[in-house]
């Protein structure tokens, strides 16, 4: 590795590797070596070298992922794309940019905002997560409610396949010719190929934005409001909910102006032409009032808007102040079932003795229950996992899915059986094997390692690493 990349681009000391053992999830997996390529060619060389020694390879961006997607579950080589961070080309006229995978999400927007453009997917980690990771996980964010997730904003990809071959899929303009390979690779969690160059679609900033904070006495009223806003046919650009407990934790830290004595707040953005924004805001205010909102505040200017959003965006930092650790879950339900889902989460929390906070993308039914626990207490951790499993099961029972934006990774691979049958797996496995036949890329992810889905097991490097 050192001869290919130079010693400055390879880490192999245990104390260095330790840093790459974690990501944003509760999982663990230590690589044997970490490398930092600068070019597609180097990525290809590394993969070929790893293949020669039959060592698994896992790609990693900023390591902010929440499902263990960028962890070396089977050990091996970790390719960190941090140094492939160039914006190669910006075509303002045709609203496209070509970027390397290590470019930070928000930096794409920074590079094009002078022209009134931006990159729409905005995960909460936008300031640090990379576009390569976004593509691998098909990342979402608050504003994907109106604008779609990562896959809706990717035109073409350059990939390095597990045999080191370099290919391109998708087309800069128009649609796929033949099968939509780009659509397959986005969200494949690094299990089919490594992404080395991305052509993104840029969106045009809306003429007008209005940010509203709807304040409710109870979370039931707030969730009823979400159901009714959705049913009214309005698609806000974002519709986020913070429950009373969470908003107090956030308010104590960020001072965003969330009323500490409320039961829940909805943070909403409406965007578009001025005339449409005014009308949408009026309907939202009316619906919220009918759902017993105490008050609907409208941000007067950009400063007030930023402050309201600051609370949402820094929520996880705030939570870090009140418990040693938190486990952010990610499940999806049909939006019409939101009140019921929140009730179920509360009950499950009670059963396991946790307080479960809720701060989530209410508008698209993407729940993020947060379980606060102490990782030093093994019993608590086990219970947190069990509670999480029950919540995800409840989501599926309500007609939902396992994950809305965090990915399956090694967090939920054993739960896949809740949603998919053996024949579904058989086909997914054939697709997997068509591109990654030896499971040399990111082994131990997405597919259940055990037969069926009886137990969640958090495996470490010693016990994991083989594909079924």
């Amino acid at each position: 590795m050192k001869s290919v990349l130079g010693p400055a681009n390879v880490l192999d000391k245990p104390e260095d590797l330790l840093l790459y053992e974690f990501d944003g999830s509760v999982e663990k997996g230590r690589p044997d070596v970490v490398v930092f390529p600068h070019t597609t060619r180097e990525v290809s060389e590394i993969i070929k070298l790893a293949a020669r020694y039959e060592v698994p390879v896992v790609g990693r961006g900023a390591g902010t992922g929440l499902s263990g997607g960028a962890l070396a579950r089977g050990g091996g080589v970790m390719i960190v794309f941090a140094r492939m961070n160039k914006i190669i080309d910006v075509d303002v006229e045709n609203r496209r940019a070509v970027v390397q995978p290590g470019v930070v999400n928000l930096d794409i927007t920074r590079a094009v905002e002078h022209a009134g453009l931006y990159f729409a997917p905005d995960p909460s980690s936008a300031k640090s997560c990379t576009i390569g990771g976004n593509v691998a996980e098909n990342a979402g964010g608050p504003h994907t409610l109106a604008y779609g997730v990562t896959t809706n904003h990717i035109a073409a990809l350059e990939l390095v396949m597990p045999d080191g071959g370099i290919v391109r899929v998708g087309s800069t303009h128009g649609d796929a010719v033949g099968y939509d390979l780009c659509g397959l690779f986005v969200g494949s969690e690094g299990t089919l190929a490594l992404v080395t160059e991305i052509t993104v679609k840029l969106a045009r900033k809306a003429e007008a934005v209005k940010t509203l904070l709807a304040i409710f006495e109870t979370i039931e009223d707030a969730s009823q409001a979400v159901v009714k806003i959705t049913a009214s046919g309005i698609t806000p650009a974002a519709c986020e909910m913070l429950d009373g407990w969470t908003l107090r934790v956030v308010e104590d830290y960020v001072h965003a102006g969330y009323p500490r004595d409320s039961g829940a707040v909805l943070l909403l953005d409406v965007e578009g032409l001025l005339e449409s924004v005014e009308a949408q805001a009026a309907v939202i205010e009316e619906v919220c009032a009918k759902c017993h909102a105490r008050e609907v505040r409208v941000a007067k200017d950009a400063r007030e808007r930023d402050l309201l959003w600051k609370g949402r965006k820094n929520a996880f930092g705030a939570l870090g102040r009140v418990a040693p650790s938190n486990y952010v879950l990610d499940g999806v339900i049909p939006r019409s079932r939101l009140p019921e889902a929140l009730e179920r989460i509360k009950e499950i929390g009670k059963k396991y003795g946790f307080h479960i906070g809720n701060i989530f993308h209410a508008g698209d039914g993407n729940l993020h229950p947060i379980v606060l626990y102490d990782p030093r207490d093994a019993g608590q951790f086990e219970k947190a996992i069990a509670a999480s499993r029950e919540i995800i099961r409840a989501c599926v029972e309500m007609g939902g899915a396992l994950t809305g934006e965090h990915g399956v990774g090694m967090e939920k691979n054993e739960l896949m059986g809740l949603l998919f049958s053996d024949t579904d797996f058989a086909l997914m496995k054939r697709i997997h094997d068509a591109f990654n036949p030896d499971s040399s890329l990111n082994p131990g992810k997405i597919f259940p390692l055990s037969k069926g889905c009886g137990e969640i097991r958090i495996k470490n490097k010693e016990t994991a690493g083989t594909q079924p």
Binding site: R168, T172, G178, T230, R337, T403, D424
Partner: protein, 460 residues
């Protein structure tokens, strides 16, 4: 006993005689590119569809799933085609949650029926595709055909949230789900878009639905030259106004539209009497939004010195919008033999239009040009008879169009051509390494090549 009825009898044994048709007259209506199947299977459930596929695998026969058959000429001719799988008997709405704006329907459900059903709840699917009256929900996915509402709502890829299908091993599979945001497992349902029946039998599709706009409007701007029209279109595209559709019509397209509307006794904008270039824009929203966009479009047309600058009456807009949704349909039947190329380009320049016109000049054939939103161009060439000479001309033109598209950093595909031309020209070219990946996808879905092999570009 003939071979034909032999297959039919065995298939009837597998799924019941009621589901099997082998009447010669009916078989010919299922012909694709001149190839007539031996038997038609009309499954009433996903299990029956799976049974047909398993039967075909065991008997080494090729299956082609079909909806209303309105666009089955898309793609290459199948290398083998024994069993037509007619999906139109499966047409139930499996699930509709208006409060969640999600819908799950059987593949054979016609879009027209769906439209009526959704309208009751004030919702719709933004799939303004040609042959709208007959197209099925499964067919619109499998054909990957353009929708006239792309500019505002994107393509079917942007709101297909899940699918159920029978794979090439004859098993029922599912991908995605019924929620609007979902990253659980591979997005296999995206691969079904434009797959032309080569990956699986789509039995059910799940969509995100959209609220019907409160009102809508249309604007027409007329110009003497294509260059002026393109300039106007370019300004519209960059004006930051949300448009539902925008198309540039060349004079011969204008003439064709007028003739069809006139024959049908439908209202049409009087300006279409003038065979010049037009830019049509449609838009929707609440009353205030529609008024504002109409006003701004008129202002822009004043600046671009449009010869015609008019906000259309609702009835005119509906008629013209409907014609543009159906352009593929009337372009392909406009003459005994013709060629329709679809170009996808980063930007459409005036030189592209002149290059395209020139490509057909020496053949003396009439051409039509329609510049759709998002860099998509329909270029049609009409021959008044189909013979070797006209086919040769069309082949040459197809090849020039392909070069023009490449030179403009785009690509071109053939949507319609006489069979002989399609066989020579192919429907599109894809890069060699991409083709290898596509083949792997096909093999994974359909290991024994039971689904109409050869239909996808590159002969996959």
């Amino acid at each position: 006993m003939t071979v034909v009825s032999d297959v039919a009898i065995r298939l009837a044994g597998a799924i019941g005689a009621k589901r099997v048709v082998a009447v010669p007259e009916e078989l010919t209506t299922f012909a694709v590119d001149g190839i007539t199947p031996s038997v038609i299977a009309r499954p009433a459930s996903p299990e029956e569809a799976a049974e047909v596929v398993r039967f075909a695998v065991a008997e080494k026969l090729a299956v082609l799933p079909l909806g209303s058959r309105s666009k089955c000429e898309l793609g290459m001719s199948p290398e083998r085609y024994d069993i037509a799988m007619d999906m139109t008997a499966m047409r139930e709405i499996a699930h509709y949650d208006p409060g969640d704006l999600t819908l799950s329907v059987d593949a054979g459900m016609p879009l027209r029926e769906l439209e009526i059903y959704l309208k009751e709840k004030g919702q719709f699917l933004p799939l303004a595709v040609p042959c709208f009256e007959s197209t099925t929900a499964g067919g619109v996915v499998a054909s990957g055909i353009d929708s006239a509402l792309r500019l505002q709502y994107g393509t079917v890829r942007d709101f297909l949230i899940g699918a159920e299908f029978v794979d090439g091993t004859g098993r029922l599979c599912r991908s995605g789900g019924r929620v609007v945001k979902n990253v659980t497992g591979y997005d296999l349902h995206k691969l079904l878009i434009g797959s032309l029946g080569t990956l699986g039998v789509i039995t059910r599709v799940n969509f995100r639905t959209f609220p019907l706009p409160a009102t809508f409007g249309g604007h027409l701007a007329g110009f003497m030259t294509g260059q002026e029209a393109l300039r106007h279109a370019n300004i519209l595209e960059n004006a930051g106004l949300p448009l539902a559709n925008m198309e540039v019509l060349n004079p011969s397209v204008v003439g064709m539209i007028r003739a069809i509307l006139q024959n049908a006794g439908e209202p049409f904008p009087a300006e279409l009497e003038q065979e010049q270039w037009y830019v049509y824009a449609s838009f929707e929203g609440n009353e205030a939004v529609v008024k504002r966009i109409a006003r701004e479009l008129q202002n822009i047309a004043r600046e671009t010195i449009a010869k015609c600058n008019r906000v259309l009456e609702i009835t005119e807009d509906e008629a013209l919008g409907g014609m543009l949704r159906e352009s593929f349909e009337w372009l392909r039947w406009a003459s005994p033999a013709n060629l329709i190329c679809r170009l996808a380009l980063p930007e459409v320049k005036p030189t592209t239009l002149t290059d395209l016109a020139q490509s057909a000049e020496s053949s003396l054939l009439k051409v039509a040009l329609l510049v759709k939103a998002a860099g998509i161009v329909y270029f049609a060439v009409f021959a008044d008879r189909e013979d070797e000479e006209s086919n040769l001309s069309l082949e040459k033109i197809a090849s020039s169009v392909d070069s023009i598209a490449r030179a403009a950093h785009g690509y071109s595909t053939i949507l319609h051509a006489p069979l002989a031309v399609k066989k020579v020209a192919g429907t599109a070219r894809i890069p060699a390494n991409d083709r290898g990946l596509q083949q792997r996808v096909k093999l994974a879905f359909d290991p024994s090549d039971v689904f109409a092999p050869g239909r996808i570009v590159g002969g996959i």
